[in-house]
Symmetry: C2
Subunit: 480 residues, 2 copies
């Protein structure tokens, strides 16, 4: 048979046990922080109707979306119809479902669908999303988002709570120096108006502003001009969105009040909202990390109010973002329902923590590997069953062999790394005992099988370490 590539598709990853132990350690912390904030879990299908997905993420989003090819007759019909009409088939005829692109649009669909949800629906969702983007460091085509959202209220308490949940997760993950950049979509619009830019060009101006980080001031100016915005207006806008650097509560307040004088009533209202939000966060985990960033635009089309983005020192781009999106649920043709959310990008957090060595201590091996010789396999599996019922994770060397050394070497091999080996021979089966060896210290002890529990083994390790520390000779001790 010809050799098939066994790599995962480009931009996709296999998570081997050592990877997954790391991912789960991070996810567990995030779940705990989100649940501490009163969020409950939601999961939605990977596959959504294209009518749900398209038109929500802007043109780029629609292009990066994975679509599912129709099957059988549903595929044959449009292909043959196009042929009969003497034209190539069109993309839109070949698919009506796709993979979810984020977790927010599926949430909006869920909220529109289920009448029985609580009036203030606080959900978290940690699932993969798919985007056919160009892969890069910390950027994949399948990646996990960790979202918290509060649906059903316009109160800024909701903004403060999602910021708190995300900040709390970051603190628990050991990110001390993160920044939560905040801005307001209505303030951005007001600044665009104040710069004398035509309302019709507002959307295109936002796209240009969003690139400030990547292309710099001059780049944005050029792009604004290319998008039909007069140079004077572009310069005026840039002046407003690129204040002198600084940070802290006083800086935030000063900056907000200086901008307040340059924008119209709607802009002032947005600035007041940001001030209120900062007040609400003053004593929550986000408080010290908030930084007003007038150039922050957030690419996604659906935001309507305050917007957020997380930066950490070790990573060049954002590790999370969010904001208020009061019109998205209404786009499903039912009642409009206000909403605000925040999403943490799991992958980037893991990249940073990995590079820091935060995961170096995580173990994947079983508590105990049973090595055996000269006994019936059924009795070994009976012994394994007893030890498992006592609470131990037990692996059994799967093959019958006389070579104990080979079994011991395997128990300590890379990717296996059992904490203990249990050596089971004829005598042990007869006596209902087991000789247990701690691989790291080399200490071993023979115990009655009934006495072997996680606690007993932990105590044995403590004792072995004490002995080593006390300078006593290391060696085997017998009990039982």
């Amino acid at each position: 048979m010809s050799k098939i590539s066994t790599k995962p598709p480009s931009g996709m990853r296999d998570f081997l046990p050592a990877d997954l132990v790391r991912r789960r350690a991070v996810i567990d912390v995030v779940v705990k922080a989100y649940e501490a904030h009163g969020f409950t879990p939601l999961e939605t299908p990977a596959i959504e109707n294209l009518s749900t997905l398209t038109g929500k993420y802007g043109e780029e989003g629609d292009q990066l979306m994975y679509r599912l090819l129709h099957r059988r007759d549903a595929l044959r019909r449009p292909l043959e119809a196009a042929h009969a009409e003497g034209r190539p088939a069109r993309e839109g005829e070949l698919a009506d479902q796709g993979l979810r692109y984020d977790l927010t649009v599926p949430l909006a669909r869920v909220v529109a669908q289920y009448g029985q949800l609580p009036r203030f629906f606080k959900r978290y969702q940690i699932q993969p999303v798919w985007r056919a983007d160009r892969p890069g460091r910390g950027r994949f085509r399948e990646f996990y988002q960790c979202d918290v959202d509060i649906i059903g209220t316009e109160s800024l308490v909701a903004e403060a709570e999602v910021c708190s949940a995300v900040a709390s997760a970051l603190v628990e993950l050991g990110f001390e120096a993160f920044t939560v950049l905040i801005n307001h979509r209505e303030l951005l619009r007001a600044m665009i108006r104040a710069a004398g830019i035509d309302e019709a060009l507002e959307g295109t101006a936002l796209v240009a502003v969003d690139k400030l980080d990547k292309v710099g001031k001059q780049g944005v100016l050029t792009e604004l001009e290319q998008r039909g915005i007069e140079a004077g207006s572009g310069a005026k806008l840039l002046d407003m969105i690129t204040p002198p650097p600084g940070s802290g509560a006083v800086y935030n307040a000063t900056l907000l009040s200086s901008l307040r004088e340059r924008v119209d009533e709607r802009g002032k209202a947005a600035i007041d909202e940001l001030g209120t939000l900062m007040g609400l966060c003053a004593y929550n985990p986000a408080g010290d990390h908030l930084e007003f960033a007038p150039s922050l635009a957030r690419g996604l089309g659906y935001y309507t109010g305050p917007i957020f983005e997380i930066r950490v020192p070790d990573f060049p781009s954002s590790v999370g973002g969010g904001g208020r999106y009061d019109n998205l649920v209404g786009m499903f043709g039912k009642q409009a329902i206000p909403a605000v959310g925040f999403s943490l990008g799991l992958e980037r957090l893991i990249v940073v923590k990995d590079e820091r060595g935060d995961f170096d201590e995580l173990a994947i091996g079983p508590d105990l590997m049973l090595c055996w010789m000269d006994v019936d396999g059924g009795r070994v599996l009976e012994l394994a069953t007893k030890l498992r019922l006592a609470g131990l994770n037990v692996e059994v060397y799967p093959e019958k062999t006389k070579k104990l050394k080979k079994q011991l070497a395997y128990a300590d091999a890379e990717g296996v790394k059992a904490r203990f080996v249990g050596i089971c021979g004829k005598q042990e089966i007869e006596d209902e005992t087991l000789t247990v060896k701690h691989l790291a210290s080399g200490e071993q002890v023979t115990l009655p099988v009934d006495a072997i529990t996680p606690e007993r083994l932990a105590a044995f390790v403590d004792q072995a370490v004490d002995q080593a520390g006390g300078g006593k000779p290391s060696g085997s001790t017998d009990e039982g």
Copy 2:
């Protein structure tokens, strides 16, 4: 805007918080059982190359597979080329990736790809798979499988261990009366030969046999004839695969030895393997549940040795299955590596447990909902932060309102169901106290904020229950 359907696509499901709490309860038990058996976790991408997926599941599998439509130029090119050639485009030109159809083929790819895996790779994998099948009770188009596999050994200890892991999960989930049907692909083949059926028809005969449960004896006979198998041979085969009913170790042994006389050497070797396997399982959690089922065929093409299937009394079809597949890893064009695995179907287990009422006691609400009035929101969020740091899951009523009653009613509403409410007013903020009310009993107490911990609240509930049991008048008690 026109009304878009907000239902998930056909055969797909949204899992609301109450659903997810149930699913997670089941998954946690399965993970614990699998880890107790020394299995380590693996996850693979949803998307695989079609070269990985196709040709592994038989014709039906290939038809039920979801394919991902090419994008942009990769789509335009074949559509235009087909048009230029004056023919409809072909399916194979429009996609080269698809969604995984099971977890076994991705595992085989992983094993072929990564040289650093342990020699005996014991992995578990709990992830969704996608099949465009007709939806039905407990049958969905997106559903979770819970797989355990041992790669790298031909030892029957591996079979015994995957059976043990799955049986142990079922026992822990409260399924007492399940059956693990076992058979052997080589025995099936030997019976087909013994019936005088041409080797060339072996595959098609297996497909017919696999339908015994659905279509009955007469149905299989008819189908065998339709597939070109002579009536006498068909009857002979059916006689072997449909023994008189019975169960237990003696029945298994008797049946195996009576079949032993009717098959050739390869068949006898397979029977010996089944006998050995039953011996290995004699004292593990699977032992009492094993039942030899000579008609068991398992649809998937890749099995080569012992095969298994799980039945529970409350569900008409299998809730899990597996077997040995020694050739699958080799299909990736590298070294052939023996393997055996077992897969539990999460969805069906959940359906059965749900119908039994096993989940009725599971709670989703926060520990405490903070209701507040006449105080600054920032101080309420500060209080929430303190309580969260003390270990409580805390929800804050998100809107400012003078109506305490409304807040209390919401805390107890369907889908919210906080265990406690904390009532926070001016006085409480000043005194750094909180009045906490247990919603189920109506008991309340005022405590210093620093004293409010999960343990303190649990003790308070115990006390309230004791008081109620002791006939003492229920009412508020004040502390602190």
